[in-house]
Symmetry: C2
Subunit: 220 residues, 2 copies
């Protein structure tokens, strides 16, 4: 199943909740001690406070008109909503610049801020195989299926060129992964039961160009 | 304005149209000569054909139940919808792995598949300043505002750590950009008139974790 099986409103809520989480962690990191209100969070992220309240309600966080929330309890509620505490192990395939960037974020020894832990990386480039990047060993592609089965990997992250993506996806599915996170700008055909998330970075460019155009035409 | 000012349905249509474009270009690249039908495209991308037709209709492409479309005319229609032909010049700030990956995609001499052309990159790391990456010169951050004004840059792409993002955004806005494409996982405060697109890669992880959880619970 792909994002499009979720209602547009749900997709936007999840998008926003992810941004709230990032922002609240940023506040915590920068030492903000006091609590926050939905209206503050809305101001920070340019989102209407009513929307913020609705989104936070999805996580079971109860509104507190007067006192507001503590940053910690809000972070916990959103992390629980995304089931981040229950870390999923992942393989990453394609260690180019994008793959390396994602590897850097999800390979950290102790913290897995998205609940995804990359435990091995794969590439078909002999100059990369055997290297260790961000503490993760780069292995040959032909090891994907067997290792994935033996290690019970649940997520496959694909950062390969489009031509290679479907073949890699098939290896990962054969290896028993439950979800594919696809950064390769191409459509993948997968069994119904596999969760598919497409993160084609270029979609952001499409939004930008479209909205710049609408703005030129004076529309919203 | 940020993505959330668009209706959820519009957001999903733009997301899908961007995927259609990528997929159709992939078909063209791999030498597919014949035309395609909405149902075929739907099958390739696991999207219901009715939805595909609705989306394509937004671009003004007329449905052809019997004959289908030529790949070329569909690519043209979607490119026109995203105004890709009218290339926008951009600055990219923060040349880490992610910045370098994006640079590689948008700096190509001749083709600018998203209608965005990065003409200069910026970093505060002396070891990077002066270097040329993917044919683009890396300059010092303090040059952003002046250069952006002089070159009439329309898009600023931010790939910096979260702590730096707002300051860079302010320099870019002072430099007269019309849009900010923010890859830094933090909320930005910008004037109403500026188009803001947040492409926090970790949002994909949030979707994945949430949907894996729903699947465990046997919900959709």
């Amino acid at each position: 199943m792909d994002g499009q099986d979720l209602k547009g409103s749900t997709v936007l809520s999840i998008k926003r909740l992810s941004r709230y989480l990032t922002h609240l962690r940023f506040l915590r990191k920068t030492g903000t001690k006091e609590g926050f209100s939905a209206s503050q969070l809305g101001r920070d992220l340019c989102i209407h406070e009513t929307q913020v309240r609705k989104d936070l309600a999805l996580t079971g966080l109860e509104g507190r008109p007067k006192t507001g929330h503590s940053i910690e309890e809000a972070i916990e509620a959103i992390e629980k909503y995304f089931n981040i505490g229950d870390t999923s192990e992942a393989f990453l395939v394609g260690v180019g610049h994008l793959g390396t960037a994602i590897l850097g974020y999800h390979s950290r020894k102790n913290s897995h801020p998205s609940g995804i832990k990359i435990v091995a990386a794969f590439d078909n480039d002999d100059s990369k195989i055997g290297k260790t990047i961000h503490g993760i060993k780069v292995l040959a592609i032909d090891k994907i299926t067997d290792l994935s089965n033996r290690m019970h990997i649940s997520i496959g992250i694909i950062c390969t060129p489009p031509e290679a993506a479907q073949g890699i996806a098939d290896m990962l599915v054969e290896g028993g992964v439950k979800a594919i996170w696809n950064f390769s700008p191409v459509g993948l055909t997968l069994p119904e039961s596999i969760v598919l998330e497409n993160s084609d970075i270029e979609q952001g460019a499409a939004f930008l160009k479209r909205r710049l155009t609408e703005q030129k035409r004076g529309k919203k």
